[in-house]
């Protein structure tokens, strides 16, 4: 069942089109990686999916089962957060806000969900620690925990591995994969890491201000675009 459908959608900033010709759908339980170079429109599309930006033309529709209050989002961290005094529990619990709504404080049920998600992600021992004292990988897990508190259905992740070392990156990707496999959560991830995208994702959406490719990962690796991009990434690895 399609939970997000994009039909001939285009997005623009101040009248300048950043990306157009978007045609894809995300089904329940998919693991979609959105790849492409810097400035190819990945983050713009993410804003469109989150409902923070309206398409200039075409349409992007959410299935009724997926309201914006049911999406979990892992944004890129901003510099202000790095020194923010907040405990791990406070951060994770804040993901419950969208379901708690206007009611004051958090309920016992909210706290239980936060607790369970921290346990699932292996950050329960850190729960009383201050967010700013954690390592980069731990911080991403905490933010992932918050995102999980906000959803049962779909997670949107914006370059979750940015700035992490390779080992921590693999652990994080492993965790995300298991969320997808064990809990059936739909994953939509922006990634620079094409190798990992091909390894973990079920579907690939390749952007370069238009849609270069959308389909299953298997098909992607057979296309010219995919081979080129994968090849280029490998070359880069050799150079690095």
């Amino acid at each position: 069942m399609a939970i997000i459908t994009c039909k001939q959608a285009a997005f623009a900033y101040d009248g300048i089109t950043v990306i157009d010709g978007l045609n894809f759908e995300v089904n329940n339980g998919d693991y979609l990686c959105i790849v492409g170079e810097n400035g190819s429109g990945k983050s713009t599309l993410m804003k469109g999916i989150l409902g923070l930006m309206r398409p200039k033309s075409g349409e992007i529709t959410m299935n009724e089962g997926l309201l914006s209050t049911q999406i979990g989002y892992l944004p890129q961290q901003n510099s202000a957060q790095k020194n923010f005094p907040a405990s791990v529990t406070e951060v994770v619990l804040s993901g419950r806000l969208n379901s708690r709504g206007i009611l004051p404080f958090y309920s016992k049920a909210d706290r239980k969900i936060a607790h369970d998600n921290m346990e699932k992600l292996g950050i329960l021992p850190l729960r009383k620690k201050s967010f700013r004292e954690l390592s980069g990988g731990q911080q991403q897990r905490v933010l992932l925990g918050r995102a999980l508190c906000a959803t049962k259905n779909a997670l949107l992740l914006d370059e979750p591995a940015a700035g992490l070392d390779p080992l921590v990156t693999r652990e994080l990707y492993g965790t995300i994969k298991s969320l997808s496999a064990d809990m059936g959560i739909t994953i939509i991830m922006i990634s620079h890491d094409i190798q990992a995208a091909v390894e973990y994702a079920s579907h690939i959406l390749h952007l370069k201000n238009k849609q270069l490719f959308f389909g299953t990962t298997e098909d992607y690796t057979q296309t010219k675009t995919g081979k080129l991009f994968l090849g280029a990434a490998e070359e880069n690895d050799v150079i690095n």
């Binding site: 979990g72 989002y73 405990s87 951060v91 804040s94 620690k129 995102a147």
Partner: protein, 277 residues
């Protein structure tokens, strides 16, 4: 310097009781909101509001309107404008806030110079006149302070979410603009109430110092909020004692005590961090 018994005698007077009740409540409001303002990088908004408040108070004194009835709506509207300016990327947000803030002072001074000249009323507006509070003023201030504290507690988790990560909150369907406006309105009310006692030039420090001091030693948001509230209230109380004992202006004395606390806490935090590394 007065003796302890003389200080207590002064604290028994009605004008002093009123000053203490309103002062403690406003200090509490300012300290609570200050945590969000500092962390959301809205610190300058408090300053901007108080300086605009100065202009309004100067005008109110001349056209003979009760200062609170005129300044409350004007400062609230200003709070909305400052919030938009601070968030906008198109013009330099912080410069715009500074511009409005200094313009407020300039307008106030011009109005004063053209009419009454610098007199006691203007000095009181700038540096506070906590003892000149009527009973009606007191009731008004108490009710508004309790409303501010109540709303802060009721919307604590929303204010946290918007302060901590606006993008996440927005993306998950939280009405971010409403809560940012709430923060601005509560700040406007607190600044207007606090101007009476601290003066237009000093009220902003009541929002900043307790939060900054608390952040030196606390690691969790809730503990920062609680510590800031305690610091704000205690510093006000100690400041008032010194003010009476040494016969110096209360506003400046309270800020002075806050400054000392901030320096002590900064020292403690340096020692703690030095010890762990």
């Amino acid at each position: 310097m007065l003796s302890i018994s003389e200080i207590f005698e002064i604290f028994g007077h009605t004008f002093m009781m009123r000053a203490m009740v309103v002062g403690l409540l406003v200090s509490l409001c300012a300290a609570l909101l200050g945590v969000n303002l500092v962390l959301k990088r809205y610190a300058m908004i408090g300053t901007g509001l108080s300086h605009v408040g100065f202009a309004v108070m100067a005008i109110a004194g001349i056209i003979d309107v009760a200062p609170l009835t005129l300044s409350l709506p004007v400062v609230m509207v200003t709070a909305f404008i400052l919030l938009r300016l601070n968030d906008s990327n198109k013009i330099n947000g912080d410069s715009a806030v500074a511009l409005i803030s200094t313009s407020g002072i300039a307008v106030g001074v011009i109005v004063v110079a053209l009419t009454t000249g610098i007199n006691l009323h203007i000095c009181n507006v700038m540096f506070g006149s906590i003892f000149a509070m009527t009973q009606a003023d007191m009731y008004f201030s108490v009710v508004l302070s309790i409303v501010v504290i109540g709303l802060f507690v009721l919307f604590y988790k929303q204010l946290f979410a918007v302060t901590y990560d606006e993008n996440f909150a927005k993306a998950t369907g939280v009405k971010v603009e409403i809560y940012k406006s709430l923060l601005a309105i509560l700040t406007a009310v607190t600044v207007v109430l606090g101007m009476r006692m601290m003066g237009a030039l000093l009220i902003a420090s009541l929002t900043l110092f307790p939060a900054l001091s608390a952040m030196r030693i606390c690691k969790r948001f809730l503990s920062v909020v609680i510590a800031a509230a305690i610091i704000g209230v205690v510093c006000f109380f100690i400041g008032m004692m010194f003010s009476v004992a040494l016969d110096i202006p209360p506003g400046a004395t309270v800020v002075g005590v806050n400054l000392i606390v901030f320096m002590v806490f900064s020292g403690i935090s340096l020692v703690i961090r030095g010890g762990t590394k």
